[in-house]
Amino acid sequence: MKKVFSMRDGTKLPVVDVPNFNLSKGQQLAIFGKSGSGKSTFLNLLAGILKANSGSIKIDNTHLTKLPESGRDLMRSKVMGYVFQSFHLLQGCTALENVLVAMAVSGNANEEKAKELLSLVGMSEKENSLPAQLSIGQQQRVGIARALANSPKLILADEPTGSLDPENASRSIELLKSLCKANGCALIVVSHDPNIINCFEHAMKWEDLNKVGKEDK
């Protein structure tokens, strides 16, 4: 799978070149590497937000790369969950509404289930709070509950601990891992923080996975 960006001056910027990548059902993997090296782009390709220039992506027996944008949107809403570094909660919506909106996107809004998820991440008492009224750690927990909203088969976490202090970072990763395990969903965490590797049984260096620039050397 390759992704090359066209720059404004006409030059081409290869960012991702992953010859082969497999993740088993329920597997948890950490990918670590330098900032700006293309890890987020890789996740965006897996999520179908970006389209690869070549290669193919198959998730849950569906060829993502063969789907039109609307099909990729639908697949993302039903099969995947996304956790971001800066949480990316909808600022006008409460914690509960953030989870409900994620469910509604796939047509499965269920208030009971949303409350249950918030309870799992220890946010029951704050379900009616707006993101601005929550601490950073609390916001990340809501982000995790939202990622699990549609019982996904794969969770993509992009620098999920980047905004957290070491204690909260460790707690969040453990929470994410345990919830993914309990729900039988696979997890890919990308991070520039080498400490993340200690939390995972399987971890790999992004530079080992991505072959961009390797031929030149």
């Binding site: 809403s77 996304y82 909808l90 006008g92 469910m103 499965n108």
Partner: protein, 406 residues
């Protein structure tokens, strides 16, 4: 709200956007409301003023008066506005009263006032027999109708309220149609009756016996043998015949008939004013569109990240576009509702001014079927304002708005 339907989700998020940008949304809605209200108001005022003036002609089909403008004659004799074009000899009244086809003929004499309100002399039969509206005769709120030869007055409801006149009150009229302090007559009149409101110009008049005006102290002898105009109800083809007799073959009097057509020509002359108001309404509408566009644009800039989040959750571009259009729709809907309120406000102010000036009471400004087109236009106007931002939202790049990247 059912979040599982796309429309439900769109309006849920649109409502959130409205709340997040409450003040800007409210200002945009107000601009639309102002434009819509002004447009609806001018349309209705034009229509209802004309209808109300036609209905307020006191149940008369024609007016006979001195040679001159038909419109001036009607405004003076039926609406108690404008100056009298002159007098007619009493014989002309007798002549037309006995003409076949003339159902009713009431002479009137004007020329005096009390504190700015006109005294109109007439035959008391007007209040016993005449229907000022189909099936409606004048009704007394209190007292009785004046006697033919006494110095008695019957007061219209508007005047009674304004001057606080009661039965038994005495007053001395002033000469002329406009109030001047140094022109008071010596004659003393007694209020013997108060009329119920009719919503017509007769509410703004103090009615007295015609002999009272004719023989008022200080009036010249000629006036005792003349009338200002004759109010007429006709039957059959009398109108055509009298038109020919007075206006084409004779030169003694003017026969103002039909009243409605003469008033219509008057309102046609006022069309420019309506045009000006409509141009103002359209200019405000353009401002409204720009306000919505500006609100949507600034809201879009602030919400680009929200939309990128929605897209990352799996929302389609159409839903993101729908949220912007839903927000614009909420603004437009509020604007449309506001325009009805503003229209009612304009109606109330106009109604008060016209009633004060003419005594003609306009009907309430109720919405009618054809107004739905205007309301639809108001909503469409707001949606047009949101369209640019919605297209931008549709095109916006998810990745660019989901910083930082690693």
């Amino acid at each position: 709200m059912n979040l599982n339907s796309k429309v439900g989700l769109i309006f849920f998020l649109a409502r959130k956007g409205f709340r997040q940008h409450f003040f800007a949304s409210l200002v945009a809605a107000f601009s639309i409301a102002l434009a819509g209200g002004l447009l609806l108001g001018t349309m209705k005022i034009q229509k209802q003023t004309q209808t109300s003036f036609n209905n307020a002609s006191g149940g008369f089909d024609a007016v006979l008066g001195a040679r001159g403008s038909k419109l001036q004659l009607i405004l003076n004799a039926l609406f108690h506005l404008d100056a009298s074009p002159g007098n007619l000899p009493w014989e002309q009244y007798e002549l037309i009263k006995n003409t076949p086809g003339v159902k009713e003929a009431y002479p009137i004499a004007v020329g005096d006032n009390y504190l700015g309100y006109r005294l109109v002399g007439t035959d008391p039969k007007l209040f016993y027999d005449h229907e000022w509206k189909k099936g409606e005769k004048y009704k007394l709120r209190q007292g009785r109708i004046f006697s033919e030869m006494a110095k008695e007055a019957l007061v219209g409801s508007f005047v009674a309220k304004k001057l606080n006149l009661k039965i038994g009150d005495r007053f001395q009229p002033y000469h002329g149609l406009n109030f001047k302090e140094d022109t008071q007559h010596e004659d003393i009149y007694v209020v013997v009756g108060l009329l119920e409101a009719t919503g017509t110009p007769s509410d703004k008049v103090i009615w007295v016996p015609i002999k009272g005006i004719q023989l008022m102290e200080g009036h010249d002898q000629e006036m005792a043998q003349s009338v200002s105009a004759v109010l007429l109800s006709l039957k059959g083809a009398a109108g055509f015949n009298l038109e020919i007799r007075y206006n084409r073959q004779g030169n003694l009097a003017t026969f103002a008939w039909p009243v409605a057509a003469t008033l219509a020509s008057f309102f046609d002359k006022m069309n420019w004013f309506r045009g000006v108001l409509q141009v103002i309404a359209y200019v405000i509408a353009v401002v409204g569109v720009l306000m919505v566009a500006s609100t949507m644009h600034s809201s879009l800039n602030e919400r680009k990240r929200d939309f990128a989040i929605l897209r990352s959750l799996g929302s389609s571009r159409v839903i993101v576009m729908g949220v912007i259009m839903g927000h614009a729709w909420l603004i437009s809907l509020l604007g449309a509702l506001g325009s009805i309120v503003i229209m009612q406000g304009i109606g109330w102010i106009t109604q008060t001014i016209i009633a004060e000036q003419t005594g003609v009471l306009l009907d309430g400004m109720n919405l009618q079927y054809e107004d739905l087109w205007v309301i639809g236009g108001i909503i469409l106007t707001g949606l047009i304002g949101g369209l640019g931002a919605a297209v931008n939202a549709y095109r916006s790049d998810v990745v660019d708005n989901l910083h930082p990247t690693s």
